[in-house]
Structures are given as structure tokens and as C-alpha cells.
Symmetry: C2
Subunit: 140 residues, 2 copies
DNA sequence: TTTTTTCTTTAGAATTGTTCTAATCTATTG
DNA sequence: CAATAGATTAGAACAATTCTAAAGAAAAAA
């Protein structure tokens, strides 16, 4: 019985990105897709894969995260020196960064507005606008 | 400015930050102050110091940059994984990040406006709002 | 199918930026 | 000046990431 074909969508996305649907890529894509919007590091994803019984090396996790990012399936977010987060929400949005916990949180769409865009310097074009709101545990 | 006593201002700032005015700190502070608004990495500052004939270790450059940041004389900016920039302009402003050159450029005050601030999550308080506009060399 | 080609994965080494360590040195205090 | 608290240093250690080159798997050709 095969009422659900959970890999179909992921398979199509890999195919159109020109990536072979290997066991590792499919498993990682599934882990990412099934977990909803989140911000994950390479190490975290590697651990999750291990726990889920998926045998995959850390190097492959890094490769795959970058390939998925290049293919538009993920978005890389850098807010801390020496650590990259990969956001499963690729839509244009902004982030809170909780400095005490090292945690990223999406800013709800519409909760922040950049009302005036700067003009890019001569010879360059704007690629993205990202607002990072750094927060701390309240004093209370 | 008083060309006769070029270290006076820097000396006062160190003193009020509770930092001893050592040869290294004075020299680094002077290098930073004399060069106008800029975005510098620890390695870059270390190189500049060497070239200026200031003998200082890389470890001290890191220590000093962090101490100056804690004292409000510098602002740390993170836009790239694995590299910290220190901004000599501590006023509240935003940045272009030129992705092809790995270069930070201040966005002129008033050229970008965040018109609606998000509400910080329960139990946390906003510490800073930073807009990063990523740019690329134009296709033309 | 089987073979061949191309792409992928892997373990471990290498690299990079940064922080730590503990010995030495220097500014300040008494 | 001596005592002490703080600062500097070289080099080791570290963490995140990338590289390497050998072995493995998927796709294309025969």
C-alpha cells in the first residue's frame, strides 16, 4: 500500500536543481521538510540525521546544505561569528537573534517594515535586505 | 585637536573605561582614531600595527578590540560566517555588505528607515536593530 | 545487461579565525 | 623601591568549516 508518496515533491525539487536524488540528499531534505520552519546548523542537522538512523557524514551535510541553499531550498543566515544557520523558510523575512541563547526567531511578516531603501553604490545592485533585531533576556 | 598632545583624548577614554594606558592600547587606539570611519578585522589591524612599527601580538589585538567594544569605542559587526568586523563608527547606523569583495560600507544616515519596530518576544528586550543590505557587482 | 562515465560520499587531514594558557613583563600603589 | 594587580606574549588549543583523494553509487552508453 502506498497512499502517500512522501518523497515525490522533494525528488522533483532535487531534479530541477540538477542534483541526483541520493539516499543522503533525500533523507536530509525530508528531515528539513518535515520539521516546519526552523533555523538549523550543520552540526544540529547531522545529529538529527544520526538519531533518525540516517548514516551521513558531516562533510555531506555541509555540501548538501550549500547545494540546497544554491538551489533556493534554504536560506543561509549569519548573525554570529563562526556559525551559520540555515533557514527552511526561504521567503523574504527578518529575524530576532536572542543573544543569551544563541537562537534565531522569525519576525512575523509585517511586524517590521523597511520603508526607505537605500540606493546601492555605483556599479552594484541590491541582492537582499535583512533586518536583525538583537534581543536579550529582560531584566525583570 | 591639539597636535602637541595627540594621546590626550585616547588616554581619557581608556581611563574612564578602567583600562590601563599601555603602549599597545594607546598605539592601537591611535591607529583606529586616525584612520576615520572604517570596518577592520583583527588580522588587518594587526598587520597595520606591524607596518607602523608597533610591536603587538595578535592575541593582544583581539583582547583590545573586545575591550574597546565593551567600552563603547567600537562596534562589532557580523555579516559573514567566520569573520568579525569592528566598526569605528559607533553611532546607530546600517551597512551595505559587498558580497563579491567582502567589504562593509556604511549606509548614509537617513538613507534607510525601519518604520515599524517589531515587539520583542515575551521576557526579552530589544538591544539593537541592524539592517544589512547585501549587494553584488552590477551585471552592466 | 554490462560497461563506462560522471557525480557523490566519506574519513580524516587541513585551514581559518579566534580563544586559551601560563610564563613574563609593566603600570600602579603603598 | 617593592609589592601587587593587571597586561602582553608565543604558541597551543579550539570550533566551525573546507579540502583531499579514494571508494561508492547513479546515469548513460553499449
Amino acid at each position: 500500500m502506498d497512499p502517500v508518496r512522501p518523497y515525490t515533491e522533494v525528488l522533483d525539487r532535487l531534479k530541477s536543481a540538477g542534483l541526483r536524488p541520493t539516499r543522503q540528499r533525500l533523507a536530509l531534505a525530508k528531515l528539513l521538510a518535515d520539521s516546519g520552519d526552523r533555523h538549523i546548523t550543520a552540526e544540529q542537522l547531522h545529529d538529527e540525521a544520526q538519531r533518525a538512523g540516517v548514516r551521513v557524514s558531516l562533510a555531506t551535510v555541509y555540501n548538501t546544505l550549500h547545494q540546497f541553499t544554491a538551489a533556493g531550498l534554504l536560506r543561509e543566515v549569519v548573525v554570529e561569528a563562526g556559525r551559520s544557520y540555515f533557514d527552511t523558510n526561504t521567503s523574504n523575512h527578518h529575524h530576532f537573534f536572542h543573544q543569551d541563547r544563541g537562537e534565531l526567531v522569525d519576525i512575523p511578516a509585517g511586524a517590521v517594515t523597511v520603508s526607505e531603501l537605500p540606493v546601492a553604490p555605483e556599479g552594484s545592485a541590491i541582492e537582499s535586505v535583512h533586518v536583525v533585531v538583537r534581543i536579550r533576556d529582560d531584566a525583570n
